[in-house]
């Protein structure tokens, strides 16, 4: 009787462990398959795209219905929009994070700001684009034109409005990552600095910000990568299908002329270029290599940016670990 009971337990646990092993293997296999699919997707882009990429492709202007030439203006336009976006978003983002982590006490204002940042991060990008079109272009832009009597200079989609809209989009990313970076700096640093008689601002400027540098950079790079990949909000904010001239203005200093980005101009953009090539090409087979080439350029830029961000974050965590261990 007892023996039979023991046998039963053995049998049960044996079949149990088979079932267990099978399920664990199923999880393993599904995960590996997913990773393989991800690798295949990237591999397909690399394999097809690498053939077209050369110097002419990267710098040339699109020719004969975009089946020849290059994507130079699109790369330039992407850079121009991103640079202005960073100028608009990074200082505000970092200052907000400093307020949240260094100044704010747990009050109504802090909770309001935190809740707003979280909600802003959840707004769909197309809604932000809709807002950018209605608010920046039609409201702000038209108002500037009315006041300065510049006709239709600002009241139309342009680089500056695309950048401003993308800045609203990435602001939460910068704030959240910077707040995290500042928060991981040990409290003792602040106490030591304040104890030596430094003011709060001096503590932030000379102690906290230098320590948090790579953490803050992570946020900036992530924001940059996100803004480069976003297509929906800029579609109606001055993106042009075909624009052979670079959106440049010349700053006249009477002796020399310095070319600068003209913020009131329209622009070409890599992500939008891919969208147009994929959906509105009159001859898809003819433009296919170009589509893959453009896609590869965009993918490479975002992958490299994300990789840099991950490396920076890794380094930042290492630094903080060392600091904490030494205490």
């Amino acid at each position: 009787m007892v023996n039979r009971f023991k046998e039963n337990i053995k049998k049960k646990s044996y079949s149990d462990s088979i079932f267990d092993n099978v399920m664990i293997s199923v999880i393993r296999i599904i995960s590996f398959l997913l990773i393989i699919i991800f690798v295949l997707i990237l591999g397909k882009i690399f394999y097809e795209g690498i053939e077209v990429i050369n110097w002419n492709f990267l710098t040339g202007i699109p020719k004969s219905n975009i089946s020849k030439g290059g994507i130079g203006p699109a790369i330039f336009g992407t850079m121009a929009v991103s640079i202005i976006m960073l100028i608009l978003a990074v200082p505000v983002g970092i200052f907000s994070a400093i307020y949240i982590n260094e100044f704010a006490k747990d009050t109504f204002w802090l909770r309001l700001i935190r809740a707003s940042v979280n909600s802003l991060a959840g707004v769909p990008s197309i809604v932000i684009g809709l807002f950018g079109f209605g608010f920046f272009v039609l409201f702000i832009g038209k108002s500037i034109d009315n006041i300065l009597k510049t006709g239709m200079l600002f009241g139309q989609p342009a680089i500056i409005w695309a950048s401003a809209t993308l800045a609203v989009l990435v602001l939460p990313t910068i704030i959240v990552t910077t707040t995290e970076a500042l928060n991981s700096i040990p409290l003792t640093f602040r106490q030591a600095s304040l104890g030596l008689g430094a003011s709060k601002w001096q503590t932030i400027r000379y102690i906290i910000l230098p320590q948090a540098r790579s953490g803050i950079l992570t946020g900036v790079i992530l924001a940059l990568s996100r803004s480069i990949g976003e297509t929906a909000p800029i579609m109606f904010l001055g993106c042009a299908f075909f624009l052979p001239n670079l959106p440049l203005a010349h700053l006249d200093l009477s002796i020399i002329q310095i070319p600068i980005i003209n913020p009131a101009d329209q622009f070409m953009h890599l992500a939008y270029h891919i969208f147009i090539l994929a959906t509105q090409s009159s001859n898809p087979t003819l433009t296919a290599p170009f589509q893959y080439g453009t896609t590869l350029v965009l993918v490479l830029i975002t992958l490299l940016l994300n990789l840099t961000a991950i490396i920076f974050r890794f380094r930042f965590r290492k630094i903080i670990e060392v600091v904490k261990r030494n205490q």
Binding site: I98, P124, L130, G134
Partner: protein
Amino acid sequence: MTKKYHSSYAKKRTFKSTLVEKAVKYFFFLNGMISVLFLLLIFLFLFKEAISAINNIGITEFFKNIEWYPTSENSRYSIIPLILGTLLTAIPATIISSLLGITLGIYLSEIASGKTREIIKPFIEIFAGLPTVVIGFLMLAVGSTYFQELFNTGTRLNALLAAFGLSIILIPTISSLTEDALRAVPNNLRMASYALGINKFAMIKNVVIPAAISGVSAGIILGFGRAIGETMIVLMVSGNAAELTLNILHSVRTITATIAGELGEVAIGSPHYYALFFIGTFLLIITFIINLISELIIERMRKKLNKMN
């Protein structure tokens, strides 16, 4: 966190330096308020235009009809087919990516060795940063033909294809949220169940997942919110036919794709223009509620896990 350092020496400061410190504080405060300002502006601005839409077209028009024909002579602005289209892409996408994403999250948290995780995790993170227009392009150029043969669909572009495209971007999100939730489960729970002689899969199923269920479900809800708000993939591969259908193999048109596709050509100030703002406002409210729910769930989980520790 204590922020009450300096009390005695602060009094000794000169008047001028405290003034500077105060100015610095208000400067940072104003910067912090910019996010609040823009959130408010987004809501105010969209609501304002949505109200114009209601005044111009009438609220019943949006829900009474079943057709979205904004450019025809007898223009009709029903949001119903757009809502159906959005759900028809977002729900299958959420189901597919929850099943696969949670599996991947379990693998990363419970099964993979430390080294494997260190390689796979950054890779998934990088993949999550891939521009959605790239996924849309690949689904259009490569995926559509395969899927048409596989599922024998009538139209090359349909809701199912869009759902698969959406899944590719949702899986990394859901899997990393699942992994975070599972790793937040205290290790002594696992050790205690092993000590009782339980197998690994049974342990995961009966102990770890129930403990982390709110975090996992928050991930699913966030994924659903992202699927609803995603534009490029659905714009490129859902087919964009605003028909009233429940068939997942038909072309559909989502709210986001409608805004993206039509705002460029609309006459500013026309009923059509306001109608687009109306559906945009609708989308904003829905995603806002979804995000709020998932945040509440995560907050509750944090409290529960704090008690456990």
